[in-house]
Amino acid sequence: MKINFSKQNIYLLILCIFLLIFVLVFSFAVLIPEGKEYRLKRTELNKESLELRQLSDFSIEKEVILQKLRSDNINVIRAFDAEFNSQRFEKLHRNFFTSLKISKRAKLEDEEGFSVYEVNTTSQISSPKSFYDFLDALNKSSWIISVNFPINFKREGEMISSSFTMRVYNNNKDLNTTK
């Protein structure tokens, strides 16, 4: 049996085989590796997105903690930020004393990363209770102040003259900025 192929059919067959080879080569050499890479990158992107979401959640958590800490300690934060003003201090605490005088302040060495200023105070009180009330008021004042030794009390007639030093603690601008 003899099969007769026309010239046209042979051309058609060659073209068909050529296109089929092209499709196969393109698919296996280009498309499938690209598809595998796509799948890998999609997995990597999903992993990165998940990490980003976790980081974002963690950041929100930290933000909440920070806001809570800030709102709980707003007075302390403001007090550490506040620059000591002797006139304002005298005005605010004058009612505890018969007379109150704050002398020039001197910078001391930093303490635990905080700037420390020392101010000398001379005052007159009518009774020790005024001094106790003053110490109570110090803990609620606009600055962070500790009363330091030596503390002298001297009777002067019906009054007690007292002299003591106070240490004012401020944020060290380079280290403790909470804003």
């Binding site: 046209q8 059919n9 058609l12 073209l15 068909c16 296109l19 092209f22 499709v23 393109f26 280009v30 498309l31 690209e34 598809g35 890479e37 796509y38 990158k41 999609r42 990597e44 992107l45 990165e48 997105s49 990490e51 980003l52 980081l55 974002s56 963690f58 950041s59 930290k62 933000e63 903690i65 920070l66 800490l69 300690n73 302390v76 934060i77 007090a79 550490f80 635990e112 020790p128 001094f131 106790y132 110490l135 109570d136 803990n139 962070i144 102040i145 500790s146 009363v147 030794f149 030596p150 503390i151 002298n152 009390f153 001297k154 009777r155 603690y169 944020n171 403790n176 900025t177 909470t178």
Partner: protein, 174 residues
């Protein structure tokens, strides 16, 4: 001279078979290229998304670091303020206790309160009152107590009581 009564059929390269073949491969190649273009586009987007995520992660990390520093600072401030407030309260109680310690028969004229000591100036009717009512409690608080007396015109005694706490002994007790 005419050999046929029908018009000659125009010969074309796009025969029915060729059209079918081109249509089939055309669609196939179009789909292959479309898929390839899609993958290239997605690859480009992935790169962009990864770069964006990387930038966002960096921003979040630096923001978390900053917040951690702020939290540490606030905690440090809080701790420091608590320490200072406690110190003021302890000081208040100490002074209160000191003045409570002074018996009514002894009159203080001056008190110097130091970090490790206390100097009291005052007048007492006699040494016994001072010794039993003031020096005894002072001795229980301080490690070293020295007293000196000077007579005054009305027969009373002016006294100076110097009291010290030894840091070393305090450490040993702790």
């Amino acid at each position: 001279m005419q050999y046929s009564y029908i018009k000659p059929r125009s010969k074309t390269i796009f025969t029915k078979d060729m059209q079918l073949l081109f249509t089939f491969f055309g669609v196939t190649i179009f789909m292959l290229f479309s898929t390839y273009s899609f993958l290239i586009f997605r690859d480009y987007r992935f790169k962009q998304d990864l770069a964006d995520i990387s930038v966002q992660k960096e921003q979040l990390s630096s923001s978390i670091l900053k917040m951690n520093q702020q939290i540490a600072t606030i905690e440090k401030q809080n701790l420091m303020s608590e320490k200072i407030f406690t110190k003021n309260s302890v000081l208040k109680d100490s002074i209160n206790n000191l003045f409570d310690l002074i018996p009514s028969r002894v009159t203080l004229s001056e008190a110097k309160i130091m970090e490790d000591g206390l100097i009291l100036y005052g007048i007492t009717p006699n040494k016994d009152v001072y010794n039993f009512m003031l020096q005894a409690p002072l001795r229980s608080i301080f490690h070293r107590t020295y007293s000196s007396f000077y007579p005054v015109e009305n027969g009373w005694l002016r006294f100076v009581s110097t009291n010290y706490i030894d840091e070393e002994e305090l450490k040993d007790e702790n």
